[in-house]
Structure formats: structure tokens, C-alpha cells
């Protein structure tokens, strides 16, 4: 492990307790009525969770149907010749399609790939890099915008998908560069 990783490992382990204790402690020092203020803020949590439900239902049910219809296989076949031209192996296409749509789906794909190709395979490395370097775009949109009732998303979807597409391509090339 390199120094950066050790540092980050410590940081991510210590930050949470530091905040959990630090915020109320600092509040007490500044004579804030911490308990009352905390409860007042925490009240909002429930409302937000309920507020995002319709948005998350809308996104997830459409994605669920799409996955169940077998459309992924069709898209994979459709994209195979196209991405082959720019050096993307067909084995990682499913990951590229599923990653912005569902988190649990992408986990399933990585596990399948480990079974199929073995965990040292370069395809697994590519898929894992794709997974690690992007987010479930549509779910994030539903939750973040849903919480403030934003329905007109403007350029959020195209910008997110551009970044995702780029990350999928970059993951392949970076892995080839580092391990190929």
C-alpha cells in the first residue's frame, strides 16, 4: 500500500466519528442548544425520504422493465461491432450499459464476470474500474432532484451521460495502459 492510500484509509475511518462528536461538541462550546437544534433538523429527514419516493419509483420501474425485457442483450449485440472499432472489448459492453441504470445490476455483472473470466482477467479490471469511477446516474438524478421537486432537469441528463460514456471508454484505455 502506498502512502496516499494509507492516509486515505485513516481519513475515511476517522472523519465520521470526528464529525459525529465534533459538530455537537463545537455547538456546545458555542452555546447552541444542541439537542433541540438537532431534532429540529432531523425532522426533515422523513419528509425528504417520502418526497423522493415518486421520483425513485418512476426511474426504477422503467429501468426494471427494460432489464427484464432482454433489451440489454439486444443492445450489446447492436453495440458490439461499433465499439469494436475503437478497441473496446465486447465483454465489457454490458457493464457500460447497465452502470448508469442500476447499481445492483452492475454488481451482478461484475460477479458474473469474475465467475466467467476469473478475477485476474483484464475484463474484470475494466468492469471494476467502470464501476468504481462512475455512479448510478439515473438514481442520483431521481434522489437529488426529487428531494427538491425538480422535474425539469435541463442539461443534467446529457451532461451526466457524456461523463459516463467518457468514463466507460477511459476505463478500458487506462486499464490497458496500466495492465495491458
Amino acid at each position: 500500500m502506498n502512502i496516499l492510500q494509507v492516509f486515505l484509509d485513516y481519513a475515511s475511518a476517522l472523519v465520521l466519528p470526528a464529525i459525529l462528536v465534533g459538530f455537537p461538541l463545537y455547538g456546545m462550546i458555542r452555546k447552541v442548544r444542541v439537542y433541540e437544534v438537532f431534532v429540529e433538523g432531523a425532522k426533515e429527514g422523513f419528509n425528504v425520504a417520502v418526497m423522493i419516493i415518486p421520483y425513485v419509483i418512476a426511474i426504477l420501474f422503467a429501468i426494471g422493465m427494460f432489464r427484464a425485457s432482454g433489451a440489454m442483450d439486444f443492445l450489446t449485440d447492436l453495440l458490439r461491432p461499433v465499439v469494436g472499432l475503437i478497441g473496446i472489448p465486447a465483454e465489457v459492453i454490458p457493464m457500460g450499459i447497465v452502470r448508469p441504470l442500476t447499481g445492483s445490476g452492475s454488481v451482478g455483472i461484475i460477479l458474473d464476470m469474475i465467475n466467467q473470466f476469473g478475477e485476474d482477467s483484464i475484463f474484470v479490471k475494466m468492469a471494476a474500474t467502470m464501476f468504481g469511477s462512475t455512479e448510478t446516474t439515473f438514481y442520483v438524478i431521481a434522489v437529488y432532484f426529487g428531494a427538491v421537486n425538480i422535474r425539469k432537469t435541463r442539461h443534467a441528463v446529457p451532461a451526466g451521460l457524456i461523463a459516463d460514456t467518457f468514463a466507460m471508454l477511459a476505463a478500458v484505455y487506462v486499464v490497458l495502459l496500466l495492465f495491458g
Partner: protein, 314 residues
């Protein structure tokens, strides 16, 4: 754009499901109502009066290939139970058997928790050459998309309600941070760094502090904390929004930075899957996520200038 993608996903699922089911009809993929030749082997002596008795079902490679017309199929033998009633004899496969496709689909589609098929004729001895007929299978994908829609709608509620605890905790803590002046201090320190990306947020606005916290939580791979912090940041940005339902420039920027993801630590889920291997991938993830973040930010800035995405003020 989300309207088109959303509608497209739904319409396309119907199209694909229908295509697949019509194809099944045309090919008769499941050989509905056609008997499949099998050999039933009784572990003990065949008892003509017993209602239930154990058996082993053997299907030869050639029978399977001839029946389903797929030369890659291989036969095998599976445990099960012979059930004899006045209506006839049927086999029930033992629980948890793994059958080759398309038998597996036939079983999961027709069985109510168990997998069964009707057997022809009367047993002739310890090795009985007979044929099995399964219930007809139709509309596999149509049933599948309907079931998926319902189950994912339920998942959505579970997911959203699962956030309540984390949301409550973080919103409470942030309220304290605000009341104690901590957040304002954070804003003052970090705004030279962060404000260039969010030029429309006024100087010293608390939204900047929430954004910094959200991005930091993302960087450290703390997904559980990042979501509540991001939602809080969105709420702060919404107070600056002159419309009710249209995203503003800073909102789109924050969202894209989250979807492009700004992590230095790999996400917990991936660490769980990859185990120690994650150490090898540390740099490939860091480089990829860094590059895609830059692309995402650039895309937001450039797309925001297009006429169709320009901000509308009422």
C-alpha cells in the same frame, strides 16, 4: 431529455418483450404440449399403489437435442418424486435442481414453487422408458416485464425509506453546524476553491458549505453520508431558485459532479466484491474518475450555453 429516455425505456421494453415472445411462438421454443422422451429409474422397487416415491429422471443427450433442436444441449439425470393419483402420474423435480435451458425457464414459469411434468403410460419396471409433458409456456417476457415493474416499484419505496435514518442524522448534525457558525467558517475557507464552479451562488452562502461537505464525503468513498449531504446542498440551492421545478445551473453542476463521481477512495461495494484486488485498481479508478469529472464539468459548462438548455427566469 429525461422524458424521452424514460418513455423510451418503457416503450422499448414492451417492443423487446413482444419480439422475444412472438419469436418463442414462431420457433415453439418451449415445445408446448410435445412429450419429451425420458427414462425414469426407481431407486427402490416400483410400488404401483404408493402415492409418492423417489425416482431419478434421465434424459439422454440425443433425446434433448432432437426435442429442442439445439445441438449444444447435454442431458443428465435429476432427482425427483413420482406422484400417482387417479388423474395420472407426474414427476416433481426435487427442490433446488438445476435444469438446462429451456427446461429451467419452463419450470420457473409453470411451477407454483415446484417443478412438475405429466408422465405418459404405466411404469414397466425399475427402468421405465416414457415421456414427460410440461405445462405450456407462453408470454415469458411479457410476464417478466410486468413482474419487474411491480417489484422495482416496491424496491424504490424500500430504498427511499431506507434513507430516513441517514437523512435525519445528517440533517440534524448540519443544523447544529449551521447554528454554531461552523458551516459559515467552512464556506469562508473553501469558497475560493469551489465558487468558480458555482458562480451563480452568492458569496458566503451556506449552500457552498453543503456542497463542500457532499464532495468531500464522495471523495472519501462515504456513500451513505454523501447522499444526505448532497440532498441538503440541493435544498440550499433550491432556496436560490426563482422557479419551482426547473434545475438551476449550480444544481446541474452539483448533480453532474455527483454522477460523474469524485471519489479518491473506491466505493465500499466495490471493495467488498474485489477484496484485496482493489489495491491494484486504485490508480485506474482514480485516473478514470478524475478524467470523467473534468469531462462532466466541461459538458455542463458547454451544454449550459446551448439555447435549449439556457436558464429561463420567469
Amino acid at each position: 431529455m429525461l422524458n424521452y429516455i424514460w418513455g423510451g425505456l418503457i416503450v422499448l421494453s414492451l417492443v423487446f418483450a413482444l419480439t422475444s415472445d412472438i419469436n418463442d411462438f414462431a420457433q415453439d421454443t418451449y415445445r408446448n404440449d410435445a412429450p419429451l422422451p425420458v427414462t425414469v429409474v426407481f431407486e427402490d422397487e416400483y410400488a404401483p399403489t404408493a402415492r409418492r416415491q423417489p425416482l431419478r429422471l434421465e434424459i439422454s443427450d440425443s433425446d434433448l437435442v432432437a426435442h429442442y433442436g439445439d445441438s449444444s444441449m447435454t442431458g443428465g439425470s435429476w432427482e425427483g418424486i413420482l406422484l400417482q393419483t387417479s388423474a395420472g402420474r407426474e414427476i416433481r423435480f426435487a427442490e433446488g435442481v438445476t435444469l438446462p435451458e429451456p427446461l429451467a425457464t419452463i419450470c420457473s414459469e409453470t411451477g407454483q414453487g415446484d417443478c412438475r411434468g405429466a408422465l405418459q403410460g404405466t411404469p414397466t419396471g425399475p427402468e421405465w422408458r416414457t415421456a414427460v409433458t410440461f405445462s405450456p409456456v407462453r408470454w415469458v417476457k411479457m410476464n417478466a416485464i410486468a413482474a419487474a415493474a411491480l417489484s422495482f416499484a416496491e424496491t424504490a419505496v424500500t430504498l427511499a425509506l431506507g434513507l430516513i435514518g441517514g437523512l435525519g442524522l445528517w440533517m440534524g448534525l448540519l443544523k447544529i453546524a449551521e447554528a454554531s457558525g461552523m458551516l459559515q467558517a467552512l464556506v469562508r475557507v473553501t469558497q475560493p476553491l469551489i465558487r468558480p464552479l458555482f458562480p451563480k451562488v452568492p458569496k458566503d452562502h451556506p449552500a457552498l458549505g453543503m456542497i463542500v461537505l457532499n464532495l468531500s464525503a464522495n471523495m472519501l468513498g462515504m456513500g451513505n453520508a454523501a447522499t444526505p449531504l448532497g440532498i441538503k446542498a440541493m435544498q440550499e440551492l433550491q432556496t436560490l431558485n426563482e422557479t419551482e421545478d426547473t434545475a438551476t445551473d449550480p444544481m446541474v453542476m452539483l448533480l453532474t459532479m455527483n454522477t460523474a463521481s469524485v471519489q479518491i477512495m473506491p466505493p465500499v461495494t466495490l471493495v467488498a466484491i474485489m477484496g484485496l484486488q482493489i489495491n491494484q485498481l486504485f490508480f485506474s479508478i482514480l485516473i478514470t474518475t478524475g478524467l470523467s469529472l473534468v469531462v462532466g464539468i466541461t459538458a455542463v459548462k458547454l451544454l449550459g450555453r446551448l439555447k435549449r438548455y439556457r436558464e429561463v427566469t420567469p
